[in-house]
């Protein structure tokens, strides 16, 4: 690949970086490499080389772009408000057009077909048990052989269930659903129409595919009920449908989307009170990037958790853990060194359980031997204990 190409980045956006470098320490790949090409400032400089100076796209450019986790930790750190995420998405879209054949073009398509995904997942689960795939190296969790079906309990709120999470971690959805129900609301489920939010496709530059998934998802989550999301990567993209699809309908849709913790944090008084055995568990709260840097709603996780456990913040300024959707599988070495820093921060926190509101982070951290639960799985367990205790007291 040696063609000259415009990356199709908005020139205003590309001009907005003043190269101050304040993003550098907030970039996980710069943190572990110390190399400018693996930093937001370096990547923008590289994009300018291609788009403004007419340099050819070469291997060095591809490495620079593909090494980006797209955590967007640089965005809140940027005093100039450079929209790095959208510049990277434009670049990835341009590269996807150039690459023509890419396994991701086909692979991510599966995510939109729930039955196919479930079938493949079951095959994978069997193969895993026969030890025919190197799960750790591929960054895979242990995939369940069988999963219980979720059933709707009303129509006050939607619970977005998504693709991989529904196929691999449906028990998390069940726990989230129970916690939401304990606040006295009925939960509706979208079925196979909202099979995938399109985040992975979008990050790989497959914008058309992402838009098609968005259209289907919006169709399946009709009405005006709030759409609660328990995977922060999905939530971030659902909230950006307005920009991605560019219609008034999509704008309205995005406004209905809330991270489930964000929704719960304003309804804490509706949840059952903490039990007497109170707050023995110390939980380190891992802030998923797309909750912290994109949705900027990470505080709500600690607020909800704090009602039932001792929630400890990590001292690493919310630096990415290296999971990044498909990143851990695509860039295993960088992902592992980035995770090392996170593991050190978890170690310093003294907690033995980690809460993560994003399935990708959960899988990536669990592969390093850490006990990771969804925050609401922890709450669900506490609520279970509280209810049991209440039942005991009644007796």
């Amino acid at each position: 690949m040696n063609a000259k190409a415009s990356l199709g980045i908005d020139p205003e956006e590309l001009a907005s970086c003043v190269a101050c470098g304040l993003c550098l320490p907030h970039c996980p790949t710069f943190r572990v490499t110390g190399e400018e090409w693996a930093s937001p400032r370096g990547r923008i400089s590289a994009m300018r080389q291609i788009q403004d100076q007419g340099a050819a796209i070469d291997q060095a450019f591809l490495s620079s772009m593909d090494s980006c986790v797209q955590c967007r930790g640089c965005e809140p750190a940027c005093p100039s408000g450079v929209p790095f995420g959208s510049m990277m998405e434009a670049t990835q879209a341009a590269l996807a057009r150039e690459r023509r054949i890419d396994w991701r073009r086909w692979g991510f398509r599966v995510l939109g077909y729930r039955r196919l995904l479930n079938l493949l997942s079951r095959v994978l689960a069997v193969v895993q048990r026969l030890r025919l795939v190197p799960s750790k190296r591929l960054g895979l969790p242990k995939i369940p052989l069988r999963q219980d079906r979720l059933r709707a309990s009303g129509d006050d709120v939607w619970l977005f269930t998504g693709c991989v999470m529904d196929a691999w971690q449906r028990s998390t959805h069940a726990a989230v659903k129970r916690v939401v129900e304990s606040a006295g609301v009925g939960v509706a489920l979208p079925g196979s129409g909202a099979a995938c939010c399109g985040a992975l496709s979008l990050h790989a530059g497959l914008e058309d595919h992402a838009r098609a998934l968005a259209a289907r998802t919006m169709g399946a989550l009709a009405g005006s009920a709030p759409i609660l999301v328990d995977s922060s990567g999905c939530g971030a993209v659902l909230k950006e449908y307005g920009m991605l699809v560019g219609t008034a309908e999509a704008e309205e849709f995005s406004e209905r989307v809330m991270d489930v913790h964000e929704w719960l944090a304003t309804r804490l008084d509706m949840l059952p009170p903490a039990g007497e055995q109170d707050q023995e568990a110390t939980v380190a709260v891992h802030d998923p990037c797309h909750l912290r840097h994109v949705q900027r709603a990470h505080q709500s996780v600690a607020e909800v958790l704090a009602r039932y456990a001792t929630a400890v913040a990590l001292d690493d300024d919310g630096l990415c853990c290296g999971a990044g959707g498909a990143y851990a599988a695509m860039q295993p070495e960088l992902a592992a060194s980035i995770r090392e820093r996170k593991l050190e921060a978890i170690g310093r926190s003294g907690a033995d359980i980690v809460a993560s509101a994003n399935p990708g982070c959960t899988i990536h951290l669990a592969n390093a031997g850490v006990t990771v639960l969804h925050p609401l799985e922890i709450v669900d367990e506490m609520l279970g204990e509280i209810l049991d205790q209440a039942a005991d007291d009644d007796r």
Binding site: V18, G34, A46
Partner: protein
């Protein structure tokens, strides 16, 4: 001819790759062009091979290889310098120290730590928190700038008013000279006899050697701190209050000033609670033992009130942190107004602050530009920020003209060219405004004592012609560097 040049470069590369593994010597055109700039406005520098050593021995190896091939060497830390000090001219070997980022040792009793040059300033103070100690210099870029870079520029920061700049906090440096030798300058324990080579080295902008380790003096965290936010209806009242505080015999830990435009930009950006109706705010921080802190904070408040100021005292750590967040976010907040800014850095005697400030406003108006001021008022260290959009034709020329006028106005009242950013490329050609030929010749002699071949970071600080040595061809600034 071209072929010959290419093969020469290849043999330099071969030699560098004998010292470092291939993935730590980068030569792809894109990787080299990314290294062509730092945080200054100078674009178009061109790096040769980019090396990422992890030890003193590897740095020595890089220098040896460069010397054998007659190539200059440019050291680089995080690349946050604002004077172009790390911009490579004419394809030198660039030695990046970001991978040398470890804290080597801490002696809490002696209040000394050895660090590697790539360690980030703020990371050091965070690592020292358990000892109740910190590293005093805190440039606004402290979350990203490297300690090696701090040594190179003799960096300052808001809290250098009472405690002094980097030089006062560096006890010794391990340096790789351009001969390839590694030598320790200064004495981490205090006072070996001899010239203060350490002092001559700090602030030399990478032109005497490459820093490979630093012994820093650590400062105990103060038991008491009070932060005051003073708001004024005029810049003049604010400046006079600053002078009055100093004249009263108080040396606060920090005195920072921000004018109306920057207050608005910052409030938009971080919401630090700065008063939007003020023409200027002054942040004063006093620290130390509780008695002195209380007395000084009261006196500062009194002096501000007498000059028509409004006084707010930070009630707790949270409020204090918010005030400082507002101050430290200032430079970035500007981008909301114009995409580019040119940040100046001159120092004037503290008693001339009000006068020079009003001159700055005049100059900016004369050149039809916008300015924001946010600076270390207690030191008299001005930082006018000229806002512009580089895509508008003719603006950059106006920015440079206004910049020169500000420098001249500062020197006219007995000020200096730079308080903390350094000279680099930016002010190199202004040096004769402050120094005579004899003065510059003396600086060139210092340079030659360390680096007779002028191989370390050539083309910076000293204007061409300052040196009596053979004409140095490495030192020319190529066309297009003035971005």
């Amino acid at each position: 001819m071209k072929l010959l040049k290419a093969s020469r470069r290849d043999s330099l590369l071969r030699d560098l790759r004998r010292v470092l593994p291939p993935d730590r010597v980068r030569v792809a055109p894109l990787e080299r062009s990314i290294m062509g700039r730092d945080a200054s406005i100078f674009e178009g520098g061109q790096a040769g091979p980019v090396c990422f050593p992890i030890s003193t021995e590897e740095v020595q190896g890089c220098v040896d290889a460069a010397r054998r091939h007659g190539r200059a060497v440019v050291p680089r830390g995080a690349g946050t310098g604002l004077a172009g000090g790390a911009v490579p001219l004419e394809e030198p070997v660039v030695v990046v120290t970001t991978k040398m980022n470890r804290l080597l040792s801490v002696d809490a009793d002696q209040a000394v730590a050895w660090v590697q040059p790539g360690m980030i300033n703020l990371d050091l103070s965070r690592a020292l928190a358990p000892y109740g100690l910190h590293f005093a210099p805190d440039p606004s870029s402290q979350q990203v700038c490297s300690l090696g870079g701090n040594v190179g520029t003799n960096a300052g920061g808001p809290h250098c008013l009472a405690l002094g700049v980097t030089s006062a906090h560096v006890l010794a440096v391990e340096v790789v000279l351009m001969s390839g030798e590694a030598v320790v300058l200064g004495d981490p324990d205090g006072c070996a006899p001899g010239l203060d080579l350490r002092g001559a080295y700090v602030g030399s902008e990478g032109m005497l050697g490459i820093t490979t380790a630093i012994a820093v003096r650590l400062t105990p965290n103060p038991p008491a701190v009070q932060t005051l936010l003073l708001a004024f209806d005029s810049v003049d009242e604010a400046a006079q209050t600053v002078s009055a505080v100093i004249a009263d015999g108080i040396v606060p830990a920090a005195i920072e000033m921000m004018d109306k435009n920057i207050i608005w930009a910052v409030e938009n950006f971080v919401g630090a609670g700065f008063p939007l109706d003020a023409a200027a705010v002054v942040i004063v921080e006093v620290d130390g033992l509780p008695g002195g802190v209380a007395a000084e904070a009261d006196r500062v408040a009194e002096l501000a009130l007498e000059r028509g100021g409004r006084v707010r005292r930070a009630a707790d750590d949270h409020e204090r942190a918010l005030i400082w967040k507002g101050r430290k976010s200032a430079f970035g907040a500007i981008a909301q107004i114009k995409p580019n800014y040119y940040l100046h850095d001159t120092v004037v005697p503290r008693t001339r602050l009000a006068e020079v400030m009003s001159r700055v406003y005049e100059i900016v108006e004369e050149h039809d530009l916008q300015v924001m001021n946010v600076f270390h008022a207690g030191d008299g260290n001005l930082h006018p920020l000229l806002l512009y959009d580089r895509r508008e034709p003719g603006t950059l020329e106006r920015v440079h003209a206004a910049g020169s006028a500000i420098i001249e106005a500062s020197l006219a009242v007995g000020g200096v060219l730079s308080g903390e950013h350094g000279i680099g490329i930016e002010k190199r050609d202004f040096m004769p405004l402050m120094f005579s030929e004899a003065d510059l010749d003396a600086q060139a002699r210092l340079r030659r004592a360390f680096d007779p071949d002028e191989m370390a970071n050539p083309g910076k600080v000293l204007p061409t012609g300052a040196s009596c040595a053979d004409v140095n061809t490495l030192g020319k600034i190529p066309e297009g560097v003035w971005g």
